[in-house]
Symmetry: C2
């Protein structure tokens, strides 16, 4: 049975290092699920491994470029699922209040949900941020918190929904609400509902809602 492990490697900096490290990992048949280059000298891997972590750690340590290798807790174990809230500062703050309070209640019961935010203004920066969310690890839902959003932001919302992200929109002017999975008027409730929708500890199932506007 494979296990999911975290490995931190301290090594010489520079081009080609990742290629050498991943070569050792590939020879152990491990499937890398996440890589973080913390700084030029420290690289952190998460992987599914069938064999013995100590054998892999030993082989990595024997590379001449490597100074130190240690096993660490995985991000999934520490930070869990993420929701991202973006838009105008006033509304993002209120959605965050709801989401953080609700995440707290689920995390106490064993869930791991973190709440990330980015206050942003303008159609192009927001559309880019929406699209970028689909490339961030562990993101399950996105909340658009503002007063007017449309145009390319609407297209970005449809793209990331097609890639599996849940998108919640505040009730606002523009075409974004019509493109979202769920539209909520109260920002605090929008944050709460988004967390409920991704929490395994909640009874809320967005697919069973007849009304998607609140």
């Amino acid at each position: 049975m494979s296990q999911h492990i975290g490995i931190l490697v301290e090594a010489e900096p520079g081009p080609g290092i990742l290629h050498q490290l991943t070569g050792v990992i590939a020879r152990h048949g491990a499937d890398i699920t996440s890589v973080v280059i913390v700084e030029a000298r420290r690289t952190y891997f998460e992987m599914d491994l069938e064999g013995d972590p100590d054998a892999l750690i030993g082989d990595l340590s024997r590379l001449p470029i490597v100074h130190r290798v240690s096993q660490e807790k995985t991000f999934e174990a520490v930070f869990g699922k993420r929701i991202v809230i973006m838009g105008g500062g006033a509304q993002v703050g209120q959605v965050a209040i709801g989401a953080i309070s609700e995440a707290d209640r689920h995390n106490i019961r064993g869930e791991k949900i973190s709440v990330d935010t980015i206050p942003l203004v303008g159609e192009q920066p927001l559309a880019e941020a929406v699209r970028t969310c689909a490339r961030l690890p562990r993101v399950e839902a996105l909340v658009l918190a503002g007063s007017l959003m449309g145009g390319d932001i609407e297209r970005a919302v449809r793209e990331v929904r097609a890639q599996g992200l849940l998108v919640v929109s505040l009730n606002m002017a523009g075409s974004v609400p019509a493109a979202a999975d769920l539209v909520v008027s109260d920002p605090v409730q929008a944050g709460v509902m988004t967390v409920m929708a991704i929490a395994n500890t909640a009874k809320f199932d967005i697919n069973r809602l007849k009304n998607r506007n609140f």
Copy 2:
């Protein structure tokens, strides 16, 4: 002159893929600064590259395992610096309100600051989350928001400060405030000050403060 670029690769899933992709990137002399395995079939790289991105994209595309390669906006360009707020839900929410409002004001003037939160309870989970922050990309500051924190959380705070993170603590019971760079009683002000401390658009310099308790 080298440029910082983002490259998204769609390829066959499975062990060894990252080793093949990084081999091509190493041959182009690029220094990889960030990797995100979005899902098994989609891997996103950021790198500093001296040469022509199109030549690299062409060589990656010619690998038999690769289906599609595209150039994308970098995370740094979209999400920028991060601050992380962790602790009890009530206090984390209030610190977030301050931090998000202040980040909004700086982001309008050209900064890129995002505000991430995780509501968490218990000494061991919090100590782990503090230590894990030092392995997350783009994190510059950490706010500990609670009513009682000490023991292993204090040790974790000293470790991540030694690794270069700025740590702000609410005024609270336990030994964490004494280990922090800055102690603030009002949670909204704690969020605002943390953003000011990392914003290039702010005049605030924590090293010039005579008093570190507010």
